[in-house]
């Protein structure tokens, strides 16, 4: 090991840094409560665990060789190691926010084209959406379903909803957008705090992400209402999408709190979606 380190030329700092970072990722993934491992640990069997969404897909898990033969890490070396099932969904969010993003083996994510990163993010959003919103009889314990939370999805849905409402409004477009955005963002934060204060076990960002994803049916409803102006149709569409949103949010919220307090946690969620529904109907 030390011999290899001696031969690292000083100029190739980027490559060796990348190696080190990759080692750090791999070894830190193996220790449960790890924070930072400053030195290069001796190469344990490398399990390509992805901390966050980015890790999946085309990142080659480094084979168990000395770390500095990095130049021979082509993507084709990947398939030999089976990916552990740790992160249930593919892709990673961050962005958002905000989404916490992670890297897998850095050389590839650094040099990969932007389009690949975007595709990975999009696939994560889609998989999260499928987990949360669509009926899925094989869904595992709801509390664990949104492990790979990301805030990009909710961000897009909130902005889309605001844009749709603003578009349908004939006057005061900017106020409508601002109100919709602020209402949804503040509402999600307050609802999460509500659950936490009721003694529930939920993680702040996970619940924010969840409430954002459950807006998806209302997005569809708002889109339909924008295209068709009939009041009766609007009422029906809003009612259906409202029920769908509440149905989607119900298992996560209810599993997070004490059963006696379920109604206390769920009622505000329902109220928020109802108010968004009213906004959709009332816009002309």
């Amino acid at each position: 090991m030390s011999r290899i380190s001696d031969t690292i030329p000083l100029q190739a700092s980027s490559q060796s840094d990348i190696d080190e970072i990759e080692n750090l990722i791999n070894s830190s993934m193996q220790s449960s409560t790890s924070t930072v491992l400053p030195a290069r640990p001796p190469s344990p069997p490398r399990i390509p665990v992805s901390p966050s969404p980015f890790i999946q897909s085309n990142l080659p898990p480094p084979p168990a060789q000395p770390q500095h033969t990095t130049l021979q890490k082509p993507p084709s070396a990947v398939p030999s190691v089976p990916l552990p099932p740790l992160p249930p969904s593919t892709g990673n969010s961050s962005g958002g926010n905000i989404a916490p993003t992670g890297f897998g083996s850095l050389p590839n994510t650094l040099t990969e084209p932007v389009w690949d990163t975007v595709k990975r993010d999009l696939s994560r959003i889609v998989s999260n959406l499928k987990l949360v919103v669509f009926p899925n009889p094989y869904r595992e314990d709801p509390g664990k379903a949104l492990r790979d939370w990301d805030l990009w999805g909710p961000f897009f849905f909130i902005v889309f909803l605001g844009l749709t409402l603003s578009w349908s409004a004939s006057v005061k477009k900017s106020e409508v957008f601002a109100v919709a955005f602020a209402l949804l963002a503040a509402g999600a934060v307050i609802l999460t705090l509500n659950v936490l204060l009721l003694g529930g076990q939920i993680i702040f960002f996970q619940s924010l992400s969840l409430l954002g994803y459950c807006l998806f049916p209302l997005d569809i409803g708002a889109l339909i209402c924008m295209l068709k102006d009939n009041v009766i149709i609007k009422l029906i569409v809003v009612f259906v999408t409202l029920a769908w949103s509440s149905w989607a949010a119900y298992p996560f919220m209810s599993s997070a709190v004490n059963p006696r307090r379920k109604a206390l946690a769920l009622y505000p969620v329902f109220l928020m979606y109802v108010s968004v529904g009213f906004l959709i109907i009332a816009i002309d």
């Binding site: 000083l10 700092s13 060796s16 840094d17 080190e20 970072i21 750090l24 990722i25 830190s28 449960s32 409560t33 790890s34 924070t35 930072v36 491992l37 400053p38 030195a39 290069r40 901390p51 966050s52 980015f54 961050s94 962005g95 958002g96 926010n97 905000i98 989404a99 916490p100 993003t101 992670g102 890297f103 850095l106 650094l110 509390g143 664990k144 492990r147 939370w149 990009w152 961000f155 902005v159 605001g162 844009l163 603003s166 477009k173 900017s174 106020e175 957008f177 601002a178 955005f181 602020a182 076990q201 993680i203 702040f204 960002f205 996970q206």
Partner: protein, 164 residues
Amino acid sequence: MDPSQAGALAFYILSALFFNSFVIIFVVTVLLAALDFWVVKNVSGRILVGLRWWNEINDLGESVWKFESLDQESLARMNKKDSWLFWWTLYITAVAWIVLGIFSLIRFQADYCLIVGVCLTLSIANIVGFTKCRKDAKKQFQQFASQTIASRVSSTIQSAFSVV
């Protein structure tokens, strides 16, 4: 790093000249700010200062913040100017958003305050994350150094005894 942070700020400041619609200003500024957050967090942080932070939810359902940094040898090789630039642009961006926020408060424009609020949250999140990461890296290195010294001392003692 610099272009993306400057882009969001510049767009916000100059947008009043070109766009009448608040909605477009809001959406584009917030999109640029979110993009910039991602770029700083993932790309600039790694390249300029060798730090990375993210959040995970482990099997027990707890949220764990993970930090990661290069080892001391590579950190020493990092360009001082790069890291100085990185930290300063981070702080200056946050200060710039605060100043813009004060302006919009003075003008009683609540909707612009919303934009500034969102962008400020993103910059502060990056600052906090990287600061914690750096502190953690220093702590880890100190621990590692003391461990290495301890193990070396004990192995020296053992070899001394074995010789005897």
